[in-house]
Structure formats: structure tokens, C-alpha cells
């Protein structure tokens, strides 16, 4: 550099200590640690270079502390694992020794070297390069101070399944304010659909519904159902979240759940009931299930006549005594014509009726509909104005809670931590075409069976075939549908073996049918799980170790006529078996929610390849994400059973509490700064900052970074044309040194 301050690399006052970790044999088996140490000794400014089995242990850290205290070193390099793992540990040790913690740099020779390199020689060379880079860099480190920011004490929990419920209650019981946002009309999630839970066979409703009502009544919980998180901004301790309240068409605050509107509704009654997996039907206005929380109905705009046809149609079944028989028959004919899509005729008839009885509302309505169908929108609207028919639900509601003109609303809240508990979805059975789901009526998914065995389900707990009456005499349960299969999902869904056993037990108990379990491996690793499996063996349930090859209905013998035949190899017997059954249950696996990707982006967290939200560390930080202040609970992170989900929800709640309870967050001091005398005020940086942390000083006409807003991405530094902007911990100097160091020697 041809300038006034030509820098000298060899600082006389810099004394670097290099500590190379063996990490047991994790590093030492691939990297010749001794060679690296010898190499480091010859690097500029290095005064100490040594090795140790476990640098992260107390004894290892103590070496650093002692060397600093004795004045041998004043810059510290630890060559060990990833900084994402132990940077904080060693910074603390450095500080403990008595120097600024940021006089420390880490060389990642485990994750980036020993674990990924085939040859020892190559690994050693790469480790040397990384150590040299750190040595070069550390001499440019400066003393920095940590930043502290206050934390908003409120917590947002996204998702109201058992995970979200548990997390919300834990935090609320600790006296903190919780917002629980659920996108369905009720909380409860998948668990609310189950009848019994394995292996104890507790009634799911009995253990879940009390928790649901606790959530509803807890003074510290604000429950928003049928609402979705729209946008998240801010950072740990200070998130701003916008929640969208979807159009429920019911005022949830005043609805008392009396269901008078449901009784009054004359809308189509054949809408498949989502809660019952389409095994029963509901009306456009409905309560998802009797114990729904909040106990508030919802109007489905896709089927309600108000939205599909502009209003409730005339009800000819009710008393129309004030009409003359002639008018009544005219009205009936007009309606028939309308149903037959003969709009011209309808129009003619309604005009005729209107001539004799101009105030008649049903006719006016029919008239309007016809006009609408004919595309005469303006005329239809005009006529509709004259229709005074109140929608029946509106009329029936004693509280006036029905609001068919409800609009979407947005609430904005401030929270310090967010727990994501968005759960899973089950695998769609029709994706494994060989099992004929949706082709053969009597192939069911396990979730459908859960509803069938549920006492409050569509059949009152009767297990019947799709015809709604026949009890199956034989049932096959196919495991691993949509799991352990490269055509769908590679992973094991963890819960299917156990719930299949539970269903086998329940089916056997309720119907006495022969039950065949087709499994690849029986996975029952949980408290009391293996015992449950043993119990089933005693119950005379058939276990066939073999993945079902296909479900088919071609016959080879009389006994197979009219049955579904499951073909599989019984691998323990080494024979192919054809098992004719009345009912096939697909034990479908668990999958990430369809919109997991969208949610991930909203919260700026990561997904695994399969789409499960990624935890910060699989073992040591299982509920943390890579974004500070956002935690994971339950099956959104991976398939989980109820005990694990509840445990994890507790863990997430504890993490969130730990964050908000201390009241402040520590921030890396890696913010950008602009040196006043170097800045020319060109303003190229201003527009780049995503956090509006850079502004122009109105007097000096130069750019200024607000360190409280800066998150430390460094994009302004990369852009700054005159090198006036720099980033703490990542100055140009430091990175140039790192580049030189990483290439200079090996």
C-alpha cells in the first residue's frame, strides 16, 4: 500500500497463541496435529503453539487462561470445531484470561477438515492453511464491546396443536403474556381427532380438552383462531408480527356457541367434514367438533348460499300460507326452471308472479338470481336491493354475532420470542397408487380409521366399511406408507408402528376381526411401547414381516372373491402370501405442512431437505433455530409422538422464558461503522441497508451507522467506494489478512 500508513504485519506487541485440539480422535485421526503445531510455531507473531486432547474441556480452556495471564500470549487461536459450536466457549476463556474476548479467532479443522477429507495428508495441509489464516487475521483484531438490547416480554406461539398448547400454557403459567395463533377455526390439532393414545390407551379427548379450555380461559393467553401470521420483522427480543384474522363471518368475541345458526341453516348439508376426514357431512355454518375451542361456529364461504348464490334461497318447505295456491305453484315452477338452468323461463315466471304480488321476496330473489345467471349483474343488484330476506343464520343468532360482511383484519403485536409449532400433515394415501387408495373404497388411511374408532366420530365409534354399515371381518394394516420409501419419503415417521398397533388393538376390540399387520421393521422404542407390542401378540393379531407389495382385487381362489387381496412376502417364512381382507388401513407417514416453505421464509428459519424446520443443533440445541429468538416445538421439526412433542414444547417454552426473563439480549458486536474523516458522503451505502441503520448526517453530509439498528451483514462495507465503512470482526484488513494467510504457506 503506497500510503502514509504502510502497515507492518509483524506487530511487535502481538503475541499469538495457537491451540490445536485433537477432539479425542475426531480431529487427530485425520489431521497430523503435531505437524500443524510445528507449522504454527513458525508463523509470524506466534509465541505459543500447542496441542491438547479436548480444548473445550475445563483443562483445555485453562491452558489458554494461564498463557494469557502469564503474559505469553495476547491473541488466541483455537483450531478445533466449528465456531458455531464453541466460539462462545473460547471467547469466554479468552476474557477469563484477562484480555478482550474478541482477540480470539477459531479455525474450523473438524467440520471443515477432519470430517470431510479422505486423506490424512490433505487434511493436514488444509488444517495448516486454516490455522495460518486465523493467525494472520487475529493480529488485526481490535478490542470490542458487546451490545445489549432490552427484550419484549411477550411470546408468540404459532400453531395450536398439542405442542402449541403446551408451550403457551407453560409460558402463561410463568406469568408471561402469550399470543397463540392458530389458522384453523379451533385449536387441538391432530390430537383432537384421535380416540385413544398409545401405549396407555388414554382417551385423547380426556387429556387434551381440559388443556384446550385452560388456554381459552387463561388470563395471560390471547387466543386467535382462524388467524395466520402475515409478516414478521425485527429480531430477537423485538419482533413485530402482523397477524391476519381470516374471515370467519362470525364475531368470535360474542358467539356463545349455541349453534342456533347451524340449526337454522338451510344450506347444502353435503359438505365433506374436514374434521372427520370427509367421512361425514356438515353445513356451511358449523362447529368443527363439539369440543372446539373456542366454542365458536364458522361460516364456510365456499358453500354458503350467501356467497355462492347471493343469499339463502326461498324455503318452500316452510309455511307459505299467505300465498294463494296459484302463486305457490307458480313459485314452485319458477324455482324448478331455475334448478334446470332454464333462466329465460324462470325470468318469465317470476315476472308474472311479481305482477300479481310485487312485494314477494322469494320471487324477487329468484328474479335477481336469474338476472345474475344471465350476466345482467347491474339489474340483479338492483333487484337484490329490494330483497329484504335476512340470511337465516343472521336471523337465528340470539347474539347478533353473524357478520356476513366481515373483512379481514390485521393485528400488529410486539413480542420478544416466537415459538413455532405448526405441526405436520399426513401423507396422502393416493400417492402410493399400488395400494389403491381412492380406487378401492375400502382402503382407508389411518387418520380415517382414527375418526371411525372415535366415539364422537361420524359413526359413533363403529368401525364400518365405506358403505357405512358392514363391519369388516378382516383388516390389513399396512405400515410404512409414505415412509422409508424413496418414492415418497426416505425417513421413518416414528409414530406409525405404534399407532398401527393401537389401531390393531382397537379394531380387534371393537369388531373382533382378523387383523394383519404388514410391517418392515417393528419400531417400538419408547416407555411401555415394547410391552404394548407384546400385548398385541397375545391378542392374536397377525404380524407379517414384509412390506405389502400391492393391494388388489384380482382373484385366484373363491375365498378371495369380493375381497381386497394384500400381496406380500412374509420374509420370516420366506413365502409370498395373499391375504384377502375386507378393509385395508394405510398407516400413512408424517410430512411437513404443505406451506412449510412459506412459513420458513416468513420467520427466516431453515428447513431440512424434507421440509422439516431445521434445529440449530440436533443434540445440543434441538428447539433453537438459526434465528435467535425463534424456537421450534413439536412435529414441525420432525415426526414426533405426543410425549416427545409435549416434552419439546416444554423445552421451547423454557428457552423462550430464559430469553425474556433475563430482560435483555446480548448482540455480537459485528456491526458496521463509518469513520467520519474517511467518508465523502457519497450515499451509496444508504439505500443498501435493509434495516435503515444508515442515515445521512444533515450537517456534515456524511453517512452515519446507527449501531442499534445494524445487524451486521456488511453489505454497506462491501459497497463503500472509499473504504470508509468497515464492519467490526470483519474489517477489510482482517479479511485480506485471512485471504493471504489461507494461501500463503501451503
Amino acid at each position: 500500500m503506497k500510503d502514509q500508513h504502510v502497515h507492518h504485519f509483524e506487530h511487535t506487541d502481538v503475541k499469538v497463541g495457537v491451540y490445536v485440539c485433537h477432539c479425542g480422535i475426531n480431529i487427530a485421526s485425520k489431521v497430523n496435529v503435531h505437524e500443524v503445531v510445528e507449522f504454527a510455531k513458525n508463523l509470524p507473531n506466534v509465541t505459543v503453539a500447542t496441542e491438547y486432547k479436548f480444548m473445550c474441556s475445563d483443562a483445555g480452556q485453562d491452558i489458554i487462561v494461564q498463557d494469557i495471564r502469564s503474559g505469553k500470549v495476547n491473541r488466541v487461536i483455537v483450531a478445533s470445531c466449528s465456531p458455531l459450536m464453541h466460539e462462545i466457549t473460547f471467547r469466554n476463556a479468552t476474557q477469563h484470561g484477562g484480555i478482550n474476548p474478541y482477540f480470539f479467532q477459531m479455525a474450523n479443522i473438524r467440520e471443515h477438515v477432519s470430517w470431510v477429507t479422505a486423506e490424512k495428508e490433505d487434511a493436514t495441509v488444509k488444517a495448516k492453511a486454516l490455522v495460518a489464516a486465523a493467525v494472520h487475521r487475529v493480529s488485526k483484531h481490535t478490542s470490542l464491546e458487546k451490545k445489549y438490547f432490552p427484550v419484549n416480554p411477550n411470546v408468540l406461539v404459532v400453531g395450536g396443536g398439542i405442542a402449541g398448547i403446551q408451550a403457551a400454557l407453560t409460558i402463561a403459567n410463568a406469568g408471561k403474556k402469550v399470543y397463540l395463533v392458530e389458522r384453523e377455526p379451533t385449536i387441538g390439532g391432530h390430537m383432537a381427532k384421535f380416540d385413544k393414545t398409545f401405549p396407555t390407551l388414554d382417551c385423547a379427548a380426556c387429556i387434551l380438552t381440559p388443556k384446550m379450555s385452560q388456554v381459552r380461559s387463561h388470563p395471560n393467553i390471547t387466543l386467535w383462531t382462524y388467524a395466520e401470521v402475515e409478516n414478521v420483522s425485527g429480531y430477537v427480543g423485538n419482533f413485530t408480527v402482523q397477524v391476519k384474522h381470516k374471515k370467519r363471518y362470525i364475531n368470535a368475541d360474542t358467539c356463545i356457541g349455541c349453534k342456533a345458526c347451524v340449526d337454522a341453516c338451510i344450506g347444502p348439508e353435503n359438505i365433506p367434514d374436514e374434521f372427520n376426514e370427509g367421512l361425514s357431512y356438515r353445513k356451511p355454518v358449523y362447529m368443527p367438533f363439539p369440543q372446539a375451542t373456542p366454542s365458536v361456529v364458522i361460516i364456510d364461504e365456499n358453500s354458503c348460499y350467501h356467497f355462492t348464490k347471493g343469499g339463502c334461497p326461498p324455503d318452500f318447505s316452510s309455511k307459505n300460507g299467505h300465498l294463494s295456491p296459484q302463486l305457490q305453484s307458480l313459485l314452485r315452477r319458477a324455482n324448478e326452471c331455475f334448478e334446470l338452468r332454464d333462466f329465460q323461463e324462470t325470468l318469465k315466471l317470476t315476472k308474472e308472479i311479481l305482477k300479481s304480488s310485487p312485494e314477494h321476496q322469494e320471487t324477487l330473489f329468484l328474479h335477481a338470481q336469474t338476472l345474475y345467471q344471465l350476466g345482467m349483474i347491474n339489474e340483479a343488484t338492483e333487484v337484490m336491493r329490494n330483497v329484504m330476506v335476512k340470511e337465516r343464520c343472521v336471523a337465528a343468532c340470539p347474539k347478533g354475532s353473524v357478520d356476513l360482511y366481515q373483512t379481514e383484519a390485521i393485528s400488529e403485536i410486539q413480542v420478544g420470542a416466537i415459538i413455532i409449532a405448526t405441526g405436520f400433515k399426513t401423507f396422502q394415501g393416493e400417492r402410493t397408487t399400488q395400494y389403491g387408495y381412492k380406487r378401492y373404497p375400502n382402503v382407508f388411511t389411518s387418520l380415517e380409521i382414527e375418526r371411525l374408532v372415535n366415539a364422537s366420530g361420524p359413526t359413533g365409534g363403529e368401525i364400518v366399511l365405506r358403505d357405512g354399515k358392514t363391519k369388516p371381518k378382516s383388516v390389513a394394516i399396512l405400515h410404512c406408507v409414505g415412509s422409508r420409501d424413496l418414492h415418497s419419503n426416505r425417513y421413518c415417521s416414528r409414530v406409525c408402528c405404534m399407532y398401527s398397533l393401537k389401531l390393531a388393538h382397537l379394531i380387534k376390540e371393537r369388531t373382533g376381526a382378523e387383523v394383519y399387520n404388514f410391517y418392515i421393521d417393528m419400531r417400538t422404542p419408547g416407555k411401555g411401547y415394547e410391552e404394548f407390542y407384546e400385548k398385541l401378540c397375545h391378542e392374536n393379531v397377525h404380524f407379517i414381516r414384509g412390506r405389502a407389495a400391492e393391494v388388489t382385487d384380482w382373484v385366484l381362489s373363491k375365498a378371495e372373491l369380493g375381497k381386497l387381496v394384500v400381496r406380500a412376502e412374509d420374509t420370516l417364512l420366506g413365502m409370498v402370501r395373499r391375504v384377502p381382507v375386507d378393509m385395508v388401513v394405510l398407516s400413512v407417514g408424517l410430512e411437513p405442512q404443505t406451506d412449510a416453505e412459506e412459513v420458513r421464509r416468513k420467520f427466516n428459519i431453515s428447513c431440512s431437505k424434507e421440509g422439516w424446520f431445521l434445529e440449530r443443533h440436533p443434540k445440543l440445541a434441538p428447539v433453537n433455530t438459526f434465528t435467535d429468538g425463534i424456537f421450534l416445538a413439536g412435529a414441525c421439526q420432525g415426526p414426533k409422538d405426543i410425549p416427545d412433542t409435549v416434552a419439546q414444547a416444554g423445552a421451547a417454552a423454557a428457552e423462550a422464558l430464559a430469553l425474556i426473563d433475563i430482560g435483555y439480549v446480548e448482540m455480537e458486536p459485528n456491526t458496521a461503522f463509518i469513520t467520519e474523516e474517511n467518508c465523502s458522503g457519497c450515499r451509496i451505502c444508504v439505500a443498501l441497508c435493509p434495516y435503515t441503520a444508515i442515515t445521512t448526517d444533515p450537517v456534515k453530509l456524511i453517512s452515519v451507522v446507527n449501531p442499534a439498528l445494524c445487524k451486521g451483514c456488511g453489505t454497506c462495507v462491501a459497497a463503500c467506494p472509499s473504504g470508509a465503512a468497515q464492519q467490526n470482526l470483519f474489517t477489510d484488513e482482517q479479511i485480506f489478512e485471512e485471504i493471504e494467510g489461507v494461501l500463503e504457506y501451503v
Binding site: Q434, R439, W554, L556
Partner: protein, 301 residues
């Protein structure tokens, strides 16, 4: 629309699938598709060659792919292979050259280079069913139907190789394309689960009982479900299911009765009103008669 035509040994004018070729030509001509025969094509190697020397088998098949490129230098050659075995073998070769570059790709490319070819891998291998359903389209076929096959119950039999494992135009477990085609002709297509089950074709000549057993299962099920005719897309399946019917009847002690086995192109041609002789109906062992009596008179519904 024009395609390169790869007849294959079974479909060529001299072999068992002659009727397939005749009907295919007639139908495509009617639909305005032009074909150009692949010059000096050689046997694809079929399933047999693989058993002796896989690399040579890939070599054989790849020569055809390279010939196609040579013949169509300026566009993507679309090579129509009517026989399922040819179709799968050539597609497999294409995939193996790409998927196993070191083991297969490089030696094959070298060999082709030695023989004076430049192989880029752009040749597409197509099956007539794929072409009829996806390129020409059912709408156009519907327009050409002169004699709707109303009331005819057709069991569409795809055979094992057609939709497995390298073709991409239909579901491997439960294909629908041929069924849709049959419905476009006015026939009613039978829902049955054996659409892609092996007919035992390659076994019948050698381990006869095993082969016949597999054919029996298919014929029996089609008959049980009331099929009037089975249509197939592979010369091997057709020969197997048809020519050995008498023997199967004997073996199964009358378990099945005569069931006509047609190539799907024959039935397409028939519905289009092409004369039976041009469609090779005279070559059938089990004659096919479609009596209009079977037609449910309209208006009852």
C-alpha cells in the same frame, strides 16, 4: 408431425407382430403422421442380450440412437419404437449412458466414436401409445372415429415394460392412457388391476408352464370381469396371450374361454373405419367380432 420409425425384429414385416405394424401404419396414415424408417436399424438387444453381455447390449441399442441422430441432424430425433421391449431397452440404454457415465457412458461413447458416430444423447424414444395420446391427442382421434365402439368392454393391457421404469408418460402402477384412448373410441374401459402384470412372455418359449400360468391369470381375470376383448401394446404379449390360449384352456381344464387379443392400434383403426384386412385382423388366432347388438340402445338412460 413426423417420427423416425424403429420397427424392431418382432414388428418387422416378417414376424409375429406383423398385424401391429400394419394397423399402426394405417392408423398413423389416417391421422396424417408421416414416418421415416430408421435406416439400417439393428436389433435392440432385447432382454436376452443383457443376460450375456450387458455392455454389448448397450452398444447394440446405442447404435440405433446414434443412427437416429445421424438421420435427423438438425432436430431432436423422435424414434418411435412400437415394441415395449425395444422401447424399454433403448430408453434404458439412454439412461445408463447418462446415469453411469464412467461405467457405461464413456465406453459406449468411445465405441460409437470409433464406429464413426457422434452421439449427443438427444434422441427421444417414443411409444406409439404415447404419441397417439399425448402428441396427436384424444380430441383429434375422437374426430376420426367413424364406428364408435359403444358397448364394447375393453380390457386395456399395457404389459410389464411399457410404463416401467424409464417411460414417463403414465403412472407405473395404474396407467390410464390406453384406457382413455379406448374411451375416446366409444368403448367402455374395464377397471382391472392387472394392467401391467407380466404375461410371462419371455418364459413361454422356455419354461412353458410358468409362462402359461402368468398368461392364464391375466386372461382369467379379464374374462371374469366381462371383457369382450383385451387390447395390448406389445407384440410379445399379443402372441403370448393369443396363440397359447388353447394350451391354457387345456391346462386350466377349461378355466377360460376364447378371448380376442388385439393390438390397441387395431381397435383404433377399426373404430376409424379402416378395413379389417388393412389392420391385419385376418392374422388373428381368435377372431374378433364386434356386433352392434351389444350396443345399448340410446334413450334408455
Amino acid at each position: 408431425m413426423s417420427y423416425l420409425y424403429y420397427p424392431g425384429c418382432c414388428c418387422s414385416m416378417k414376424a409375429s407382430g406383423k398385424a401391429y405394424e400394419e394397423s399402426l401404419m394405417a392408423v398413423l396414415k389416417k391421422l396424417g403422421v408421416t414416418l421415416e424408417e430408421l435406416k439400417d436399424w439393428n436389433c435392440c438387444g432385447a432382454t436376452m442380450y443383457m443376460a450375456i453381455d450387458q455392455m454389448q447390449a448397450f452398444g447394440m441399442a446405442s447404435r440405433n440412437l446414434a443412427l437416429a441422430e445421424q438421420q435427423c441432424p438438425n432436430k431432436t430425433p423422435e424414434l418411435m419404437a412400437p415394441c415395449s421391449a425395444c422401447y424399454v431397452v433403448m430408453n434404458k440404454t439412454k439412461h445408463f449412458i447418462e446415469d453411469y457415465k464412467e461405467q457405461v457412458g464413456t465406453p459406449i461413447r468411445n465405441a460409437l466414436k470409433e464406429a464413426g458416430f457422434t452421439y449427443t444423447g438427444k434422441t427421444k424414444v417414443r411409444h406409439p401409445l404415447d404419441i397417439l395420446v399425448n402428441d396427436i391427442g384424444l380430441d383429434k382421434i375422437r374426430q376420426h372415429v367413424k364406428k364408435p365402439l359403444k358397448g364394447l368392454k375393453v380390457a386395456s393391457y399395457y404389459g410389464c415394460l411399457l410404463v416401467r421404469p424409464y417411460s414417463e408418460f403414465d403412472d407405473v402402477h395404474y396407467p390410464r392412457s390406453m384406457d382413455n384412448l379406448m374411451e375416446a373410441l366409444g368403448a367402455s374401459s374395464l377397471e382391472w388391476p392387472l394392467k401391467t402384470r407380466c404375461c410371462g412372455g419371455s418364459m413361454t418359449g422356455t419354461v412353458e408352464d410358468a409362462g402359461l400360468r402368468l398368461s392364464y391369470i391375466i386372461l382369467n381375470e379379464a374374462e371374469r370381469r366381462g371383457a369382450d376383448v383385451v387390447v395390448t401394446a406389445c407384440p410379445f404379449c399379443q402372441t403370448n396371450l393369443e396363440c397359447f390360449q388353447q394350451r391354457i384352456q387345456r391346462k386350466s381344464k377349461g378355466g377360460i374361454s376364447d378371448l380376442p387379443i388385439l393390438f390397441f392400434t387395431q381397435l383404433v383403426g377399426y373404430a376409424m373405419g379402416i378395413p379389417e384386412r388393412e389392420l391385419g385382423f385376418h392374422r388373428l388366432f381368435v377372431p374378433f367380432h364386434f356386433s352392434p347388438k351389444q350396443v345399448v340402445t340410446e334413450g334408455v338412460e
